[in-house]
């Protein structure tokens, strides 16, 4: 844990709520990245960020000071994203409507007016396939994969975050990688 996190948390718990601002400013970018990878669009990711910090604040007293605050925060964000994905899937299924065409619910469909070099380099064809492949992952597969691949969390940490066993977490990651590989194999081998 960032050694200052613990001190700040103590101050917040002692009644100085404004100190929580430091944690928000410190971790907003990383929580947004996680939320965006999970939800696939900016506006939903913003909602996840906001809700994550609100939930973290409300349950700060339950935080175990021996643990890493960022891991704990990611756990809240991942679990909220999981709920969000499940609710979205349920709504889509019950409404029998196709997913929003602009935001297919898979990986980010970024429409930037000022594309960075990375975005230009990243092939549109791969992007399109990746969106489709990510949309096929179950909520648990996507969460486990995002936490492992992008957030560099260990399998044990992920299984604790998801409340499932280590082998179930491993299987989720394996299945996610296999699905992504199936979709992207022709393009990846050509690069």
């Amino acid at each position: 844990m960032n050694e200052n996190d613990g001190v700040i948390i103590q101050q917040v718990l002692s009644g100085n709520g404004d100190c929580f601002r430091v944690l928000v400013e410190r971790y907003s970018h990383s929580v947004f990245r996680l939320a965006f990878r999970m939800t696939g669009n900016e506006s939903d990711a913003e909602d996840v960020v906001q809700e994550t910090f609100l939930r973290a604040y409300r349950s700060l007293a339950q935080f175990d000071s021996r643990a890493s605050f960022s891991t704990w925060l990611y756990r809240i964000a991942a679990n909220y994203s999981l709920d969000w994905l499940a609710a979205k899937k349920r709504r889509a299924w019950q409404q029998e409507q196709p997913a929003d065409e602009d935001q297919p619910g898979g990986m980010p469909n970024v429409k930037s007016k000022d594309p960075s070099v990375d975005r230009l380099v990243f092939s549109g064809q791969i992007q399109e396939r990746l969106e489709g492949a990510m949309a096929e992952l179950t909520a648990q597969e996507r969460t486990a994969f995002v936490l492992r691949h992008y957030e560099d969390q260990s399998i044990e940490e992920i299984s604790a975050a998801l409340g499932v066993g280590v082998s179930a977490t491993k299987n989720s990651i394996f299945r996610a990688v296999q699905k992504l590989r199936r979709s992207l194999a022709p393009l990846v081998s050509a690069t």
């Binding site: 709520g17 400013e25 990878r37 007293a61 709920d83 609710a87 990688v177 992504l180 194999a185 081998s189």
Partner: protein, 259 residues
């Protein structure tokens, strides 16, 4: 050594494989596995290039400005362990099972007692109008819980649409709130804090439904469902309803035995 499995390659990529040195040695020797591993690496590197929309440098401040008005006072104190225990559905199931055993043990004791003192008990039963009142209350409470449960289940399973008309549910919720208050007060008077506590949770949920906009959006309904799920209110009601029914049955058995 056999070829490496997909799982081994993936775990090795993430540095979580057991016997990593052996795997490295195998990859150095086995061309087929090496190709597999390189393909996997290419896939993973491609994924790393996924663009993320950039946030401005003062993004943290923006987030803080959005959430600060909703933070309220200081964070809630850590809940005592017993409260966390109460909110855990698994523990409720265990508690329910234990309660069932206690009731059974109690009944066995009563049965044995009745066997030896049947006549005496019969006369005692006749002189206990309180027990009759309790049985009537249990029946009414059981029905109240069943009706509440039915409404919450319907609400949980309502198909989401852009706007949902909650006016009918709100009317039912209003009726249930009035009855719920009476049962909660009766439970407190009867020194049944567990029952009163569940009824208090139920009352809060019913109030939330009654005071929601009569034309709720799908998101508002979803939020309501999430809060219900978080509180585990349906589960608590089911457990309590089961216990109430058990007590009803126990009362009837005692009556039968007494007669």
């Amino acid at each position: 050594m056999n070829h490496l499995t997909d799982e081994q390659l993936i775990l090795h990529f993430y540095g979580e494989a057991k016997g990593s040195a052996q795997l490295e040695a195998h990859l150095a020797e086995c061309g087929e596995c090496k190709v597999q591993y390189q393909t996997l690496q290419r896939l993973m590197n491609t994924l790393d290039g996924t663009p993320i929309p950039e946030r401005p440098p003062d993004y943290g401040r923006q987030v803080w400005n959005r959430i600060a008005p909703h933070l309220g006072g200081r964070p809630a104190k850590a809940r005592p362990a017993w409260l966390a225990w109460l909110n855990n559905p698994r523990q409720w199931a265990v508690a329910s099972a234990v309660a069932g055993l206690v009731v059974m043990a109690f009944l066995v004791g009563r049965f044995a007692q009745n066997e030896s003192n049947r006549q005496e008990l019969a006369s005692q039963q006749q002189s206990r109008p309180g027990e009759v009142r309790e049985r009537i209350l249990l029946v009414a409470l059981g029905e109240h819980l069943e009706q509440s449960q039915m409404m919450l289940v319907e609400l949980s399973n309502a198909p989401p649409s852009r706007k949902i008309d909650l006016s009918e549910e709100q009317q039912r919720a209003e009726d249930l709130i009035a009855a719920n208050r009476l049962y909660r007060q009766a439970a407190l008077k009867a020194d049944e804090p567990g029952v009163a506590s569940v009824l208090e949770d139920l009352e809060r949920t019913l109030m939330e439904i009654a005071h929601a906009p009569s034309s709720a959006s799908a998101q508002e309904l979803e939020d309501l469902r999430s809060r219900m799920a978080e509180q585990g209110i349906l589960f608590k009601i089911r457990v309590m309803e089961t216990q109430v029914r058990q007590r009803q049955q126990a009362g009837m058995q005692q009556q039968t035995i007494g007669w």
